[in-house]
Amino acid sequence: MSAAEVGAAVAQAHRQEWAFVLAATARVTRDLDAAEECVQDAYVAALDTWTRQGVPRNPGAWLTTAARHRALDLLRRDRTLRSKLPLLVVPRASPDGPVPGASAGGGRGPVTDGADVIGDDRLRLIFTCCHPALAREAQVALTLRLVCGLSTAEIAQAFVVWEPTMAARVTRAKKKIMAARIAYRVPGAAELPDRLDAVLTVVHLLYTTGHTAPGGPGLVRPDLVDRALSLAHMVRELMPDEREAAGLLALLLITDARRAARTGPDGSLLLLEQQDRSLWDRAAIERGSALVVESLRGGRPGRFALQAAIAAVHGEAPSYTATDWPQLLVLYDRLLRAWPSPVVSLNRAVVVSMVSGPVAALEEIGSLEQDGRLDGYRYLPATKADLLRRLGRDAEALNAYRAALDRTQNAAEREFLARRMAEVSGREETELPGRTG
């Protein structure tokens, strides 16, 4: 087998199996650092062994066995590994009982010790990484590091943070998990809704960071977007009865279906109304829409299900103007009740502008400005600018675009705002008075 083929197989196994292998190994080492080391070693061993013997039929199982052997070796040689601050591995028959909605090993029969319950172990890992006693930024970093297997350098780069800062953040979080005894387990039924929400929030945050990169040349960071999508798939697969998990996956699928249409041939940003809808990934939108139906069924829908439903209405609209705006307004009202966030109010204002006109929307923007929670949020002045532009109030629009530009780091977004500024300032000089929006 060629080195290139093996390299590709190992890279693929890294992307797909890392969480699986690490989660199982952490059970043996009871120490996250040691587990990471053993898993790294297993991947290195794979390069060599697979070149000689071929890629195994189940790379995940091969890597898990290799990493666990390595861990047992380490434990035999180094007793101190178990000594001071062990990862608190809760016995499988925990007093909390089985978790509703968690699938044990994807229906592979009764749960026994060993590789069969890996499904559960991955959930333990992700719930530990996203524990509310850790800061949100630490949750994100740990998830990327432990669940996705990204290096600290890669994580630092994705979040435009100095690498030693990110390393310190990861180390501190790992230490807290050990010292404060954050249990390596899936939360019990009573805590589950809140804890799952934290997990989904982290995955969503990863997605949005990739969807519009915080800095740098490109609009999208495809690597982060892909990681977020595979995490959303994983959570959905592991907790098939949790409607919000379905909702998040639907939201990401439908939003990501528009990826190819979000930028022009020159890399410039295109808004929803400017996008060539024939470039949208219809299959992904359909898969997402089916999940939306599922996530809305039974009981009051959660915020991810409602956001996905909103994305689906856009996804199914033949054109921007032919979008079902009244339906969107209904969905936004429900979303605002489920999740009273000023960002939701801002997005709702855009829908209001399509139903009742820009003047009505500007009133809502005004109260958001009063509210103050969105100070520094670039999309508030950007949305205001666009409404003013539509009304032909170009001088005010120019000011608002300028405020948005001041708050924007992404190159594609900056370029878009600059273009709009040129457009309204040109119009302000050349157009005759009496123009209406």
């Binding site: 001071k84 809760v90 006693a133 010292a179 404060a180 954050i182 249990a183 805590e191």
Partner: protein, 115 residues
């Protein structure tokens, strides 16, 4: 089981202004808390209420000064030492701890037994 400290931080003005009635209610609330900890499978190993920070004396190096270590709106007013299975269990218990004029902080106690 592991040990955690529950540190109670509150605005002292609440008690200064609340008078006898607030003090009475607080005492009762802490009594209920003690019972609840046992019901939830935890254990109180110790705990005390502290006199207000106006009675505190601070020593840094050789210098002795009147007042608390740091002046804050919400000051450490008492603590419990508890035993719990893990952080989630400790948080579950700490949530029940009375702190009507502030909140509580949960800190793991360092295990120095292992050498």
């Amino acid at each position: 089981m592991a040990q955690y400290a529950i540190l109670i931080y509150e605005a002292e003005s609440g008690y200064a202004e609340g008078g006898q009635e607030v003090s009475q209610q607080t005492m009762e609330a802490h009594g209920r808390f003690a019972a609840q900890v046992g019901e939830r499978g935890g254990k109180i190993l110790g705990g005390e209420a502290l006199e207000p920070t106006s009675t505190a004396t601070t020593i840094r190096g050789d210098v002795v000064t009147d007042g608390p270590f740091t002046e804050t709106k919400e000051a450490l007013g008492g603590f419990y030492l508890i035993e719990a299975r893990d952080l989630d269990h400790a948080i579950e218990i700490a949530r029940l701890c009375p702190a009507r004029f502030g909140g509580v902080e949960v800190r793991p106690v360092m295990d120095t037994s292992g050498g």
